[in-house]
Symmetry: C2
Subunit: 336 residues, 2 copies
């Protein structure tokens, strides 16, 4: 940043008025003669004067900047979230300072600190997988910087949150299979100790129960990556003759099992129907295009920013924290 930026002082000096006059003229302060105002405004325009946001922030004690801490940028869901955040923030006159924790607790702490050092007005955070301690965030809140959690929330801290309704998404997906005529549905699940694993499993069970379908233990397999599908290939093929539907905890797992089944002569969706969860870009590329449950990252991002700005602009409002639940919607394609 070269000193070549023109300042209010420069304008004042050149025009032979005081800096305060310039400042007032520029922002249409009432106590200013129209003459001076025009003079100043015209000149400012001519020399392309732009206020220094740093100085403004320092003075106003408000940066109009939102800090974001995200586990991984390269991930369709998270990048959609960022996109939604950026779009809304931009529209509301805020900017985003973005840090990625790379799923590393230590880095998450440093990032938080750095964002606070920059005096961001608020924080948007999705906690990293390795984070077990939340002092860094609690402290931020205690010191007056509001935090909104999204997706990977932290139960121990009371604040605003936006999450996906995993239970409901899974329920809808399973229900859809049932409506398509499936009675023997395999669930490829994430580990139960992960919240999403647990919730999606529960949604699956709920749907079965409400249709009086027996929940067989052997029909839920811990298998949540493409690689795992390939490793378990034989076991999956052994089960295949006994099933007519698969609900996989994510799209890549769903696609992988579709492929394994197809390679072994199963017709999809005729013999076995498959549904995933997440609706990343792969779902449409799969063959047949994969039915799935859309996770709405963009909307989640917007919502988180909306809640944060809401808090920022009503600092005196009574603090009653909200948890906004985003219900994923069924995307019916050709695999079911």
């Amino acid at each position: 940043m070269k000193p070549s930026h023109i300042t209010i002082k420069d304008i004042a000096r050149i025009l032979g008025v005081s800096p305060s006059t310039v400042s007032r003229a520029l922002k249409d302060h009432p106590d200013i003669s129209e003459e001076t105002r025009n003079l100043v405004k015209t000149f400012a325009e001519k020399v392309k004067y732009r206020p220094n946001a740093l100085a403004l922030s320092l003075r106003k004690q408000k940066t109009n900047t939102l800090g974001l801490i995200i586990p991984e940028i390269v991930h369709h869901f998270f990048s959609s979230v960022i996109s939604g955040m950026e779009d809304l923030a931009y529209g509301e006159g805020y900017h985003m300072m973005i840090c990625q924790s790379n799923e590393n607790y230590y880095r998450e702490v440093i990032n938080t600190q750095a964002l606070l050092d920059h005096r961001v007005d608020g924080l948007l955070v999705s906690i990293s997988k390795t984070t077990k301690e939340f002092n860094h965030l609690q402290t931020a809140i205690d010191n007056g910087t509001p935090v909104v959690f999204f997706d990977r929330i932290c139960d121990e801290i009371e604040t605003d949150r936006v999450i996906t309704d995993d239970f409901e998404g899974a329920r809808v997906a399973t229900e859809h299979l049932i409506e398509c005529g499936c009675k023997k549905i395999l669930h490829l699940a994430a580990p139960k100790h992960l919240l999403i694993g647990k919730k999606r499993y529960e949604g699956y069970c709920h749907a079965l129960k409400s249709h009086n379908i027996e929940i067989k233990e052997e029909f839920t397999l811990k298998c949540d990556t493409r690689e795992e599908v390939l490793t378990m290939r034989q076991h999956l093929l052994d089960i295949a003759p006994e099933i007519d539907g698969v609900f996989a905890v994510n799209d890549s797992t769903a696609i992988a099992i579709m492929q394994v089944l197809q390679q072994n002569g199963y017709k999809i969706p005729d013999q076995i129907k498959v549904i995933g969860f997440g609706d990343g870009p792969n779902a449409t590329i799969a063959s047949p295009p994969l039915s799935t449950v859309e996770q709405k990252g963009y909307e989640m991002g917007r919502e988180a920013v909306r809640m944060l700005i809401q808090r920022l602009e009503n600092p005196t409002a009574p603090i009653n924290y909200q948890t906004k639940i985003i219900t994923p919607t069924l995307k019916k394609r050709s695999s079911t």
Copy 2:
């Protein structure tokens, strides 16, 4: 940002010394007694003092912030770029302010302005598709804010750039098909007026020529999206019997044609080999996994930041702008 942040002045008052003493003690200035230094440092630590980055920036005329303008965050390539940028910037003590132009010229201009208002030390930009005018960026450079272009560069502005070697990538891909025994290679191309379309076409031709394979005009088809493949389905199937290889300008097109061919009984790679360009996450999910040319977004991001910081930290160095060309590498999988 509540005023509850402790400042140097607060510490000075409490400890009964002057602010400058505190400032000096904190940064291990030589002219300070060990006693005072320890006193100050211990106290600062106790009250968790953190310097205000805004004040620092204003004072030092340096923000340690890099501005990024990117067409779309939700895009595997671009999000990889951001990730690479963020990682390196973070390591070098810089932060990133990110704006997306959404392929909109007007918004790109506003974003540039906003970042300059925030006095970012430098700009990283990939221009939007609708940008035909570059004054906003030229002005930035003229006023002393260095700019590094990446991926979507602008020829009219002289500055540092990082680009992918599209010609070479296409050449290597085509060459690979030839080495696998293909002699009749179809090229699904992007429009010639796009730089990547042109360069990749040229690379394809070059490979053919150097192996004395005739370049048939009817073997290059403008077709660069999945949808287009489906639209041209019949035409592609008409040509299919005459070809033994396909080089598609991007992965999704490659995957789409693989699927069309497979649905019509062609065995891949036995009868027809297919290679793509880009190596997004789809490539591995395709069946068979798609051979492709890896575009290295992460590396491109790092490189762009490296060049920018280099410039920032050697302001007096002679300005000789560099163009760094990143050569994509062949990812051989099972479709060839």
